[in-house]
Assembly symmetry: D2
Homo-oligomer: 304 residues x 4
């Protein structure tokens, strides 16, 4: 079913009303309407194997490592010794893969969409790379909010929010509210660290990150944004890291020391590069001072 470079099959991603990305398709691998979303796995000439959810590009072979390394390592390295970790979302298994590079005791991965995870298991082996079978992994298919509310095990050292944006009627809407973060904080250890992928940090499209930043600041004493450009997203991407105890500056040395643990296991991340990425573009900096707080009563609903 492979196609030559002149393939006439295209996948169209409408980014806004005025801008569309067209990807030439090498092979349309698999598609499924799961209970929660429409998942497609497609081999693109531009980016290699690529996962789309509801028509939006999620992660691509060519640079998923950039996204996943930049999501996971800052939080893991900011904690002096993470043992118990929670991943919310993260269906492809690549976030899990990065976490397992540390000598953790246990990693919970809670993703609501079992059908999606099964697709990823079958079609994205480079992403999970066996991590689902690691004996330290506990993979649960349920609403992450319910899981956190009912959780009474060992406190989490690191929590990673690798969720899709909160689109209308999607399951993620109540996973970005002040109330939820308050509950979550109580299930974290004294020096717990939280990180969230925070959507596009695009010029003029910073509403979500500014709201999310304002919300986290109500709960955590230390909140910091960083960003990086991900080629296959064709966008500057934002992340927010929040800590119960440490400021990033305090942990700089810890981070640099601990980096040795994973130095040879990463392709892209370095502490130096990460610190540079905490210097935000002026418009992003400004927008992070202006957001409104997201609550259960007034959740944030993503505008396409």
């Amino acid at each position: 079913m492979d196609k030559d470079p002149d393939s006439n099959l295209w996948f169209e991603e409408p980014y806004t009303e005025g801008l569309r990305f067209h990807y030439r398709v090498k092979r349309y691998v698999a598609a499924k309407q799961t209970k929660f979303q429409y998942a497609e796995i497609i081999d693109l000439f531009a980016f290699g194997r690529t996962l789309f959810l509801d028509g939006k590009l999620q992660s691509a072979e060519i640079d998923e490592h950039i996204y996943h390394e930049m999501l996971v390592h800052p939080a893991m390295l900011m904690h002096p010794s993470p043992k118990n970790v929670l991943i919310m979302g993260g269906g492809e298994g690549a976030t899990l893969r990065e976490v397992l590079k540390y000598s953790v005791k246990r990693v919970y991965m809670v993703d609501i969409d079992e059908e999606l995870v099964n697709m990823c298991k079958e079609y994205l082996p480079k992403w999970h790379d066996g991590s689902f079978d690691d004996e330290r992994s506990i993979v649960l298919f349920q609403d992450a909010r319910k899981f956190v509310e009912e959780y009474n095990g060992e406190p989490f050292d690191v929590v990673i929010s690798d969720l899709t944006e909160p689109i209308e009627e999607g399951p993620a809407i109540y996973l970005f509210t002040r109330e939820f973060y308050s509950t979550l904080k109580n299930k974290m250890s004294e020096d717990g660290v939280f990180v969230a992928q925070s959507g596009s940090a695009e010029y003029l499209y910073t509403e979500f990150i500014s709201a999310l930043s304002a919300t986290l600041k109500q709960i955590f004493p230390h909140v910091l944004g960083y960003h990086d450009y991900v080629f296959s997203f064709q966008l500057n991407w934002a992340f927010l890291i929040a800590s119960k105890k440490y400021s990033l500056n305090e942990q700089k040395q810890v981070m640099e020391k601990n980096f040795d643990i994973i130095k040879d296991k990463v392709e892209y991340f370095t502490p130096e590069y990460f610190f540079a990425k905490t210097v935000l573009p002026p418009y992003m900096k400004k927008s992070m001072r202006e957001g409104r707080v997201i609550t259960d009563k007034e959740p944030y609903v993503w505008k396409a």
Copy 2:
């Protein structure tokens, strides 16, 4: 001739064989086959007024200030007191606009394409913003290489290379060679600074910046790369700065002090942000150590 948001007119930019950008057109403003290139000025819903050369997006209303501020201010601020400046290319007049924010004595802008500059004068007023009429501006329509070779006026303190990439049979091919840079260096003052827009810094597409970097290093003692994401380019963009005398670190304080001069005249640039952007992504850093030297005999020809 304005069009509603449902406009069915699209401009297609094929970025590679496998990736196309489609921009919805609000108004197709003007087009001209000049002696050197096909120039189109189009109002896009996504980016506002936009200039395309030979079908490739050059600069867009929404964020041309990001590109032009990041191109001009690092070099201008690295020199303690720039008086005599040369811009090669820069047809839109926005590079000139940024340079004129300093108390310079004279700015030469040498662009080969008079027809293009006339189009920009007429249709891109926000770009040049009167800079063509500033009495310090000397705008010349000729080959920049010839101009430099024959120039015997006051040495240049800052030289800005705002040229399109060296596409085959294009006029820019011999403006990126070791021989040319050697000549250029001789026309610069003892503490002269050179900066060049250096094309896409995209993951896997770093061949040009690595060759350009290798070439400049043969001529200048200090060469430094930096990058920034420009939304309308949908790409991470690369710049190279080269200095006859100062290293960037030596000039950090000068830069921060002089920044006061233009602080209130810029929208985006800050020294802090710029310094962060000199920390390159690992793949870019690596590629900058590997380039081949560009010469008149073996010029670099851009591969679309």
Copy 3:
């Protein structure tokens, strides 16, 4: 403003949810939101100069003569001696042009959209070809229904309905109803002939022609469908001809005899070819026996 064959400007016409036509644009000539519709005149590589209304292709340089000859000549030749003619719609002036090839006394052209007609006058000279200036032409800008209702001049020998399809809230909705046709019939001479462009005769899209046919049959004793393929429409097109007195078979000889009058003035039409086009594809024939009657109370609203 001309563009080379590699032009990256495209006009997209979504024919249905599942089928889009993409036309490469040579020159975007003019556009105007008139009081009634969005009119665009575009030079296409495929079809030459082309008129679009609300994004739908109306008529193209390459084959407007096919459409206009097939619309006008059957009705004009079915009447033994047409003197007084009414055109409803027909903004481009080409229907008028074809009618004026006969020795008529007077042609009313009633089009609601003066701004559109002015655009056509300026940009579509091949279409009207001076016909607006012919002293036999009376061009009125008003609702055709009101015009017909208030008309008390000499009866019309031939009436040509060259209207766009009755889209929602468009002005044409009440120009396809039984009540209107009843009024119209009373303003026609004893042997008056009526013809209407009747939209796509496409396989599976025959609802409009079947309803229109059923409606006309309530008013006129003789109703006949014919069709032809128009390349630039990329569709089989339908027409309905209705007569107060003559059946087509009775008039065959008249038609062949009168054809001599215009034989040297047409490019495409011949009686022989037209007769062949009255033999309808089986699905179209069938659908014409099944339509519902269109009334003022239940007007037909075109589904895109």
Copy 4:
């Protein structure tokens, strides 16, 4: 793998440099680079299951019966009693299906591309509808020219050329030449009838049909063109019928009488409709008087 109506997967068919058709894809069913061509089977929202060869639409669920009935029945009905039939090409099996509706003794189907036929067997059951398993069918995978040259069995009563257009270096180039038709004629019975699908009959694109017509006229005493619009082709399609003995007019009564045999087995074809389709558009009529003869030395090569 089914997709909702908002599917973002599109198949692009560039018809000319200036015109592209975009089909929304419901399901990308199968694709294969056979020894001879790139075959894709795709479920389209607009046309249902559809076969593409080298990116060009060949036949679609929605109206393959129009094409195949119009190809097969005129020739079969023009012969008073066809017993021995040859199909050249016809990979989908639908031409075979139509031929088997008559009480023939034997049908040879000679298609060079076994891999394609196997794909059709698996994925296009509505097309062949069991016809490959009919005991009267003899399906051979070889070059049709060689087969005809070496054939010394019972003469063919009807020969159907259901080949793709003779594209450069394609296997069909020498199946449209005077020399081949001369050989073929000798293998046909005294009253043998030949029919060929003859490509687009589009306005301004009539070169192939005019050459093919000129070539057949060198060999057969009676040659007749007919055409029909096929919705999924979005084009007027041309056919040429040639007979060793009968003119169409002589056979009209035979055709009408024999039609009873298959009347209840066809959906679209009627003799009356077919006769109407032998009246050609003026431009096509004209072009059929002007073609050059295709020979082995100067074969016709299709221009995309």
